[in-house]
């Protein structure tokens, strides 16, 4: 069976700097694959390249046999590859429920004019979106606070809302950008369960970029390790744990961050 998503020797340069250097790997359907690496390894850049928020310098990203790199973000989203954001990017001036409702955009059947004149399709859409939004809020654990203004939510809930927004688009592949960043142990464990649920119950393939090693080890089917923009390892959590190059990369990075 051919993979769902293929990253084919993708490269991205910024001026003289090569942020992502001929990185290649495949993602199978219903897999949870993590991309890890020390700070500045090019994880976030790779992420933006896959979601087409950045243009590649060379190489391509293939989804279901079709090239999706170097397009508009909304076209990539329409094909089913949807990203969430590292920062807690949400629609701050809307309620939780409205955030999720508006994110159903890709399931719209009516046209803009249809919405204006409240055509049959439009009314059906709006009812369906509202129902689905309630269901997603419950699934994510935001059901109790869905009428709360998003700007009033605490950090942990914001992250969950980001995932809820992603789910509302009915994605085939969900790209999660550092979903555990800044969380304590309990919050992380809860979010790990949530991400597993997204895959197990909704059949969504998950590609995540993450820093938190224990969380990544427990959640991932496979892991890709980047360092200085290059892929240095790929394998199951057990294989990665035993990989000398990975240990070296992380130790080296730690030295730097301590200031040696």
């Amino acid at each position: 069976m051919s993979p769902l998503l293929e990253v084919r020797s993708v490269t991205r340069r910024f001026g003289g700097l090569v942020a992502v250097d001929s990185v290649a790997f495949d993602v199978a359907e219903k897999e949870i694959l993590s991309v890890i690496g020390p700070n500045g390894a090019g994880k976030s850049t790779l992420f933006k390249l896959i979601a087409s928020f950045l243009k590649t310098s060379s190489g391509e990203v293939i989804f279901k046999g079709e090239k999706i790199s170097d397009r508009s973000p909304h076209e990539v989203a329409r094909r089913g590859v949807v990203r969430t954001f590292q920062e807690t990017t949400i629609f701050r001036g809307m309620t939780v429920r409205d955030n999720v409702i508006v994110a159903h955009h890709l399931r719209s059947k009516a046209s803009l004019a249809g919405y204006f004149f409240a055509s049959g399709d439009a009314r059906a859409d709006e009812a369906a979106f509202a129902r689905s939004a309630d269901e997603i809020c419950d699934f994510i654990g935001l059901g109790e606070i869905k009428d709360e203004m998003a700007s009033n939510l605490p950090q942990g809930h914001l992250r969950a809302l980001g995932i809820a927004i992603g789910l509302a688009t009915d994605p085939a592949v969900l790209l999660l950008d550092e979903p555990f960043a800044g969380m304590n142990h309990d919050e992380t464990m809860r979010t790990v369960e949530l991400v597993r649920g997204v895959r197990d119950e909704r059949g969504v393939t998950v590609l995540l970029v993450e820093h938190d090693m224990p969380a990544v080890m427990s959640i991932s089917d496979r892991i890709v390790v980047l360092n200085f923009g290059q892929k240095i390892a790929e394998g199951t959590p057990a294989e990665i744990r035993a990989d000398d190059k990975v240990i070296e990369a992380y130790l080296g990075a730690e030295d730097e961050s301590i200031g040696l």
């Binding site: 508009s72 809307m94 709006e126």
Partner: protein, 325 residues
């Protein structure tokens, strides 16, 4: 707010606009208020367009350009092609919408002050273009434009000539007010439909909006085209009333005022532009009797309102609504 209350509010508003105002003017003998209030209605329409661009998160200081363009399109079609004014009205709007698509494609990528400044320059470009083109007759402008005539199909009168009823001022007022009511009814529907929801998503975070699959380029263009359409028809109506147009009919000052009308009413409220325009334009007129203190009182009141209600006049009701929930 209950549906019954809302309907009652709308009926009250319509009664004031179409019955109360003519009665009050009749009683007070201030016939000049007809012209003032007609202007308020038309400026509110142009401001509604600016408000819509605010609604997708853009500061638009270029509406004067479209009002001017719409005015010239109507004037030229009436004078040179002999069209009936009522036919030129939608054409002026559509022409402006098309122009705005061409201009919007490159400039709508810009945000914040960058977009604001380009649109400000656009107003100036429109004025200078009107000065330079032969068809607009330069600084002399186009004058002695006939009043709107009647529209008839096969001898059946659809719209009577504007001077049929004797009182042209009243007729123009009623037409402008009706146009305003239609425009704002449409705006209300737009904002409360899913389109409004999408516009809000654009206003709050364009990156996230595109990540959930919204074609932000397309939506921005649609909103901007509607905005410019409204600017165009408002400009065309003004020309019909004043029967003349000059390059200086709409300038940067007007563009800024359209924007201020929106701010004053409140950027979050679809009927904000009506209130903002009424307060700014009618208020200025009312203060005329204070003579040399007119500007001082006007600006002091303006500053006071902003400091007390930085989110616009209509935000007065905000706290009430929050507790009602």
């Amino acid at each position: 707010m209950g549906t019954g209350l809302r309907i009652a509010g709308v009926l009250l508003f319509l009664a004031i606009v179409f019955l109360g105002v003519p009665w009050a003017i009749q009683a007070s003998g201030r016939w000049d208020f007809y012209y003032t209030l007609t202007s308020v209605a038309l400026l509110a329409i142009a401001s509604a367009g600016v408000w819509l661009t605010f609604y997708i998160g853009r500061i638009n200081i270029g509406q004067g350009a479209y009002a001017l363009t719409g005015g010239y399109v109507s004037a030229i079609l009436v004078m040179q092609a002999g069209w009936n004014f009522w036919l030129t009205l939608p054409v002026a709007g559509i022409f402006c919408a098309l122009v705005s698509v061409l201009i919007g494609l490159p400039i709508l990528r810009l945000r914040g002050v960058y977009f604001a400044m380009v649109t400000l320059v656009l107003t100036e470009v429109a004025r200078l273009t009107a000065l330079a083109l032969p068809i607009t007759n330069g600084a002399k402008g186009i004058t002695s434009i006939p009043l709107p005539g009647e529209v008839s199909i096969l001898g059946l009168t659809l719209i009577p000539a504007i001077d049929t009823f004797g009182d042209v001022k009243l007729a123009f007022y009623l037409v402008a007010a009706a146009l305003m009511v239609i425009v704002f009814a449409g705006m209300y529907r737009l904002v409360n439909s899913r389109i409004g929801h999408l516009c809000r998503s654009l206003q709050q975070n364009e990156e996230l909006a595109s990540s959930i699959g919204v074609n932000i380029t397309y939506l921005r263009i649609v909103a901007y085209a509607i905005s410019s359409f409204l600017g165009g028809i408002a400009g065309a109506m003004f020309v019909a009333i004043s029967q003349s147009i000059y390059p200086s009919s709409f300038t940067v000052v007007d563009s800024v005022n359209f924007m201020l009308n929106c701010f004053l009413g409140g950027l979050a409220y679809v009927f904000g532009p009506i209130l903002g325009t009424l307060v700014l334009y009618f208020g200025w007129d009312l203060l005329f009797e204070t003579g040399r203190f007119q500007l001082l009182i006007y600006s002091s009141v303006l500053i006071l309102i902003i400091v007390l209600l930085p989110n616009g006049l209509l935000s007065v009701f905000e706290r009430k609504r929050a507790t009602a929930r």
